[in-house]
Amino acid sequence: MSDLSARGPEAVAITGIGAVSPLGNDFDTIATALLAGRSGVRSIDPGEFAREARQFAATVGEIPAPPAGLADAEAFAGLTRYERLCASPVAHALADAALPGDLDPARIGLVLGLGAEHLKAWELDHLAGGGEVFAPRAADTLVHRLARLVGIRGPAATVAAACASSGYALAIGRVWLRAGRVDACVVGGCDVLSPTALAAFYNLRALSRRGDDPALASRPFDIDRDGFVMGEGGACLVLERSGEARRRGARVRGELAGVGMSSDAAHMVTPCSDPAEAARAITLALADARIAPAELDYVNAHAAGTPVGDAAEAAAIRLALGPAVDGVPVSSTKSMSGHLISGAAAFEAVACLVAIARQAVPPTVNLDRPDPACRLDHVPHVARPRRVRMTASNSFGFGGANLCLVIRAA
């Protein structure tokens, strides 16, 4: 057994990025869209089951196939759309990391945040006339099938914390790396639009009903916000221990410097009005990264555009950052990407890497009149050029799950 206690915490590098999103499917395209304030929200075909005015969402167009040689093209083509949405960023993140071809695949892990894999699979099957939901058969979950698809043979796990799911995947992968259980880990998550989820969130009164102009519907922190806009897509990152990544000459995009996790323990559905636990997640992440609040250059807020959730998060940010809060720009990229649900946290980690790479803070579009209950240093409408080295990204989920990731420049 190795002496883990002597090893101590080690920085974790982000060496690969793969994404499928309403704003593009590669880092540069996504960066350009985010900094241009471009919305990915559009009208959608309501399908045969939609009878209410919810025919808009942030959708993904073409799903890129894996790079040649990284996965069996025929196998990829045989996957369902949901499975391809998940497989594509896994494969592209691996390709982007350019891991050495002789790296033992048993030392590569895979952690995916997939909050409703079964619901999506059952729904697809049901709509195609199948009966899997009524009498399921034994089958491996997607994470194991994707591991085989791309040749990963190390630990593989699905994690879920609703809208924070893919952020917890990053957290678990980082722990595995620091404990020496893997040498590289693909982490992230993805989601797909589904009639059942759309209907459920609509009936929960969580979705925006501004059907007249879809691009204006997602308006986090705005006083006229009325709910979030469903999106699909997500992202995967390749994590490695920083020392080894640098020794092999990897392109290090940034470092996952801190993770903070907590639970409100208040309600299964409703965001907690007491900001203490959400603020504690932020504080824990900053402490883990060994930085003070004033050292943050950007906070990517979870803010989905719900009346209660945005105000609760603003209070949590203010509580956690204290007097430094007025000097730290905050934006919600969900105003452009929509809410990618399971994939949101990983995609927003990519947004932080965009801010670092382009030295500019992405805006919150549609923020015409900031809600006084959400008083922060907002970045409305247009990106703000700024030196960005240290960022934080918040994610919150049903069941009171709170997560904050600190991502810093390499």
Binding site: G78, E123, A139, A162, A199, A200, M268
Partner: protein
């Protein structure tokens, strides 16, 4: 074919102690009663009607946590700082089936808003956290046939000393649930044959397992049971960037998954661990799909008995 030597040797995990544990077995017909059953003393009472919209596996899993707390030989400590990793298997299937049937019949307006928050992979972990006031992270894990392996590996990683978190968790609850045989549902999403008024031998059985895992195995309580992960030995030769290097069965599985008459292994894993926990000399190990081995160290080697366990049939 060569495998590059790893810069860090495959690392076994530090052992983690089990402070208390319990197993609950409930038949489908017993679940309505279990939703409203008072907590066993001295476990805390649940909020009124807390489980009204909860998934069936949430009912059983939360009951297992309550039973484990009740089994604690000392006045149970505060669990406020604990986290929760919960690994249900195909959670939410009943509600999903009903929602899909209603969606087809009556459109989106008929879909229950509870299907996502109460009947998803995260829901059991969230329910344990909310019901018992636990402020550590709450995470769902697994979801399928390898749920126990995935959940345990995630839980052990978060609570083990090598996690190196700034605010180390005092402990974490691991909860696993699964049906021995997945109940067949009719086309409205209800169990075929309806719910039996009384338990029957052929009534589907749901198992719930709860373990309170603590990192400090050397504390004054001298935890008699320990869990650890033994890393897979040796490198396995396969190139990363060449799908052709994979065995044919793996390539096929990448397309459609492994289908067939296999047992639902999550239920078997829960059953096996439950048996070991209930036997002073019981030993148990679980081979993960990626080769690691999760091992339960029983107190038998130290000649101790384990008072910290409870088995409850609903």
């Amino acid at each position: 074919m060569h495998a590059r030597p790893s810069s860090a040797a495959p690392a076994d995990s530090q052992p983690v102690g089990i402070a208390c544990h319990a197993v609950v077995e409930a038949r489908l017909s017993e679940l309505p009663r279990l939703r409203d059953l008072p907590s066993p003393a001295p476990a805390p009472a649940l909020p009124s009607r807390f489980l009204r919209h909860a998934d069936e596996q949430t009912v059983v899993g939360l009951r297992a946590v309550l039973a484990a707390i009740a089994s604690h030989p000392l006045p149970p400590p505060s669990f406020a700082g604990y986290g929760v990793v919960a690994a249900p298997c195909r959670a939410g299937r009943f509600t999903a089936a009903q929602s899909l049937a209603m969606l087809r019949e009556g459109g989106g307006v008929t879909v229950t808003p509870h299907v996502v928050p109460q009947c998803s992979l995260h829901s059991l972990a969230g329910a344990v956290s909310v019901a018992l006031g636990m402020h550590g992270p709450n995470i769902g894990a697994g979801g399928g046939r390898h749920a126990v392996a995935e959940g345990l590996v995630a839980a052990l990683a978060l609570v083990a000393p090598e996690a190196s978190a700034p605010a180390a968790l005092p402990g974490i609850w691991f909860v696993a649930t699964a049906w021995d045989d997945e109940p067949a549902l009719d086309r409205t999403g209800r169990p075929q044959g309806g719910a039996a008024p009384e338990p029957r031998a052929d009534d589907p059985l749901c198992r719930g397992l709860a373990l309170a895992l603590v990192a400090d195995v050397a504390n004054g309580m001298a935890q008699p049971l320990r869990l650890s992960v033994r890393a897979a030995a040796g490198a396995r030769p396969a190139r990363l960037h060449d799908a052709d290097a994979l065995p044919a069965d793996a390539r096929r599985a990448g397309v459609g998954g492994t289908r067939g008459p296999e047992a639902f292994t999550a239920a078997a894993d829960i059953r096996g661990l439950a048996v070991a926990l209930g036997t002073p000399a019981g030993a148990w190990s679980l081979r993960c799909p990626w080769g690691d081995e999760i091992r339960l160290e029983s107190p038998a080697a130290r000649g101790a008995s384990d008072p910290r366990g409870r088995r409850e049939a609903a």
